[in-house]
C-alpha cells in the first residue's frame, strides 16, 4: 500500500492509505496516527484517523508544511513494519431491528429510496442475496464490527464488519439524503454501518435502533461521565438483537441511570484474525461474555 498525500489548504495534510476499504488499510492509518500522536510534533493540532485514510491539521506558523509532510511520510513508511496488534475494547450494543421509529421515518422518505415499495431491511436483504429480513439480521449481528472511524457528527461511529469481503453487507445510500433520522438509528451505507449519535439528516439505509446512548454532551449517563463520546477508532462492536420488551426495559434502565453496557478489554491481532476469521470472532465473543 502506497499512501497518497495531499495538502488540504495551508492547514491540513490528507493521506489516503488506500482507495478501497480493508482492515489492512484501516490498521495502517491507525498505526500512523498513533505514531504521529506519540511523536508530539510541534504545530500539529488535530490527528484524525479515518477508514482507509487519515488527516493531520497543523499550524503552518509553527511548522513548515513541507517539513511536516516529510515527517509524516517517514512515519507512514515506518508503520509498514509494525505488528498489527492493538489493545482495544469489545462493546455489546443491543439493537431492536425493524423498530417502529425508523419504520415511520423510512416510510416518510420513501420517494427518496431505491425501492419505494419495500422497507430498507427488505431491500438490503434482497440486494445482498439473503433470504429475507431474518437472514439479513443474522448476517448483520452474527459477526463483530470494527469502529473504523468516528466522525461526521459528534461521536458517530463508522463500523466495518469483520468478515471476508464476499460476506460483507453492501448497500447504497438513499437516492437523496433524508432530512431526518431518529437518534440512535443503526444505519448502513456502502460497506459501513453506523449509529446516528444525534437526530438529523442522513443518507444511510435504516435497519433498527439501539436503546443505548453513545453520546451525551451533558455527561449525565454513567458510562459517558469520563467523556461524552463512547467510541474510539479500533473499538469492536457486537450487535445483540433484542425484542420490544427488552428495548423498553433498556430505555427505562437508561432513564433511571442503571443501564450498564457490556464493555471488555481485549487485544486484537490482524494476522491471527486473518488466519481463521470465524474462530477468532468466536474467541472475541467469548471475551465479551466472560468466557
Amino acid at each position: 500500500m502506497q499512501t497518497r498525500f495531499s495538502y488540504g489548504g495551508d492547514e491540513h495534510i490528507f493521506a489516503e492509505v488506500a482507495e478501497s476499504m480493508s482492515l489492512q488499510a484501516f490498521f495502517k492509518g491507525l498505526f500512523v496516527t498513533n505514531a504521529v500522536r506519540d511523536a508530539r510534533i510541534k504545530g500539529v493540532t488535530e490527528i484524525c484517523p479515518a477508514n482507509a485514510s487519515y488527516q493531520v491539521k497543523f499550524d503552518p506558523d509553527q511548522i513548515k508544511p513541507d517539513d511536516l509532510l516529510a515527517e509524516l511520510k517517514q512515519l507512514d513508511s515506518a508503520s509498514e513494519t509494525s505488528a498489527p496488534v492493538i489493545k482495544t475494547r469489545i462493546i455489546e450494543i443491543p439493537v431492536l431491528y425493524n423498530d417502529p421509529w425508523t419504520h415511520e421515518t423510512l416510510m416518510r422518505f420513501r420517494e427518496r429510496h431505491q425501492d419505494p415499495n419495500g422497507t430498507d431491511l427488505e431491500y438490503a436483504a434482497r440486494i445482498n442475496g439473503l433470504n429475507g429480513v431474518d437472514a439479513f439480521i443474522k448476517a448483520h449481528s452474527s459477526a463483530p464490527w470494527f469502529v473504523s472511524m468516528v466522525g461526521f457528527v459528534a461521536g458517530l461511529p463508522f463500523l466495518y464488519q469483520m468478515v471476508e469481503r464476499q460476506r460483507q453487507i453492501q448497500a447504497p445510500k438513499y437516492l437523496r439524503p433524508r432530512t431526518d433520522t431518529p437518534k440512535l438509528t443503526v444505519g448502513h451505507g456502502g460497506c459501513f454501518s453506523c449509529i446516528y449519535s444525534v437526530r438529523g439528516a442522513g443518507g444511510y439505509q435504516m435497519f433498527g435502533i439501539t436503546p443505548m446512548p453513545i453520546y451525551d454532551p451533558n455527561q449525565k449517563i454513567s458510562y459517558l461521565r469520563d467523556f461524552m463520546c463512547l467510541f474510539k477508532p479500533g473499538d469492536i462492536v457486537k450487535w445483540k438483537p433484542i425484542d420490544r420488551p427488552a428495548y423498553d426495559a433498556a430505555v427505562a434502565d437508561v432513564d433511571a441511570g442503571r443501564f450498564s453496557p457490556i464493555i471488555r478489554d481485549v487485544s486484537f491481532s490482524l494476522t491471527e484474525f486473518n488466519n481463521d476469521i470465524d474462530a477468532y470472532n468466536r474467541k472475541l465473543e467469548g471475551v465479551l461474555h466472560g468466557n
Binding site: G9, D10, E19, N51, S53, K57, P60, D61, Y215
Partner: protein, 325 residues
C-alpha cells in the same frame, strides 16, 4: 449581570475562537465564522480576544440589559439601535441598565458580532464557550438563542472608553465584488477531467440558500465530469463517492459533481464525497460574510500564495491590535 433575549433574531449563537482538539471524534472547531470581526468586537470593549460574543446571522436579536455595559458590533453591517436610536457599527458604545439593543435591516455582509465587556459567561465545554448546535454542545444550552433566555455576562476587566472605533481598512472585509475565494487544488482533484478542472476555476458560482455554519453550497457552474473508474470497494457507486474519509475545514466537496459545498467552522468531520481542494485559511472569515446569491470565483493558488495570504491576514490582525491597544 445578565442580558435578556427579547427576540432571538434568525440564528443567534454564543461563539468564541473555537474548540480545537476533538475533530477526530466528530466535534468540530466551531467558533466565530468571521474570527477577525469577533476579535475586533472583543478588543473594542476591552475583552480578551477570544471572549464569548454573540454571532447573529442576517438579522439581529433584540436584547435588554439588566445593568450598565459597554458594547460593540462588528462584522456585517447590521446597524444597532439603542432604545431606537441609531449607533455605529465597529465602534464601542455604552448601554445603560434597562436599555434595549435592537438592529436595523442588514446592509452588507452576513454575520454580525456583538461583544459585551466581560464576555458571555456560559460554561466552558471542552475548553470553549462556542455553540455546536448539531451536537447540542456548548454555548447557551447547546442551541441558538430563544426569546426569554437570560445570558450571564462576566465581570468586565479594566474599563475602556466608549467611542473607540476600527478604521475601515482594518475590518478585513472584501474590497470588491465578485468575491474571489482562493483555493488550493488537491485532495481528490485527480478524479475530475482536465476540462472540468478548468471549468471549476473559470465559472462564476453563486452562494446557494443552503449556507450555514456547517457549510456553504454554491450553484451556477458547470457540473464536473469525472475520470472513468471502477468504484473501489467501500466507496459506493456514484463517481463522486469515496471511501468515507476526513474532511479538511474549507474543503470543497461536490456531491454528484454538481454543487460545490465548502465546509466551515461547524464542519461535518468526514464522509463519503470526494473533494476538489480547499479554500485557504486566510479566506475563511470572508465566506462567513457572504450572503446567498453572491457571485464568487474560485481562484487557484499554491501553498506559497496561501502562506503569503496567511501572513498578510496576520499582519492585519497585528495592526488591529495596535490600533486598539
Amino acid at each position: 449581570m445578565a442580558i435578556k433575549v427579547l427576540k432571538p433574531g434568525l440564528a443567534t449563537t454564543v461563539q468564541d475562537l473555537g474548540r480545537p482538539g476533538y475533530y477526530h471524534i466528530g466535534i468540530p472547531l466551531s467558533g466565530g465564522m468571521d474570527r477577525h470581526a469577533l476579535t475586533a468586537a472583543n478588543l473594542l470593549v476591552g475583552n480578551e480576544e477570544g471572549a464569548a460574543v454573540l454571532e447573529a446571522v442576517f438579522m439581529g436579536p433584540e436584547l435588554e440589559f439588566t445593568d450598565d455595559a459597554l458594547v460593540a458590533i462588528t462584522g456585517a453591517e447590521l446597524p444597532p439601535k439603542l432604545d431606537g436610536e441609531p449607533r455605529e457599527t465597529w465602534t464601542s458604545f455604552k448601554v445603560k441598565r434597562g436599555q434595549k439593543l435592537s438592529f436595523d435591516f442588514l446592509k452588507q455582509g452576513a454575520r454580525g458580532y456583538i461583544a459585551i465587556a466581560g464576555g458571555i459567561d456560559v460554561p466552558l465545554v471542552l475548553g470553549s464557550r462556542s455553540t455546536y448546535a448539531l451536537g447540542a454542545l456548548g454555548g447557551f444550552k447547546g442551541r441558538k438563542l430563544e426569546a426569554g433566555d437570560e445570558l450571564p455576562i462576566g465581570r468586565a476587566g479594566a474599563a475602556v472608553k466608549d467611542g473607540r472605533t476600527v478604521a475601515k481598512d482594518l475590518r478585513g472585509l472584501p474590497a470588491a465584488m465578485p468575491t474571489e475565494l482562493r483555493v488550493m487544488p488537491g485532495l481528490y482533484w485527480h478524479r475530475i477531467s482536465e476540462t472540468a478542472g478548468v471549468g471549476f476555476f473559470g465559472d462564476t458560482w453563486k452562494v446557494a440558500p443552503e449556507a450555514d455554519r456547517i457549510g456553504y453550497r454554491f450553484r451556477g457552474g458547470k457540473p464536473l465530469e469525472f475520470v472513468p473508474r471502477e468504484p473501489p470497494f467501500g466507496a459506493g457507486s456514484d463517481p463522486s463517492n469515496i471511501t468515507d474519509a476526513c474532511y479538511p475545514y474549507g474543503s470543497i466537496q461536490v456531491p454528484g459533481g454538481t454543487e460545490p459545498i465548502v465546509l466551515h467552522r461547524d464542519a461535518v468531520s468526514g464522509g463519503g464525497y470526494f473533494m476538489v481542494g480547499t479554500v485557504i485559511a486566510a479566506d475563511m472569515d470572508l465566506i462567513g460574510q457572504l450572503q446567498p446569491n453572491t457571485s464568487v470565483k474560485f481562484v487557484k493558488v499554491g501553498m506559497d500564495e496561501a502562506l503569503a495570504a496567511r501572513k498578510s491576514r496576520a499582519e492585519l490582525l497585528g495592526k488591529l491590535r495596535s490600533a486598539l491597544a
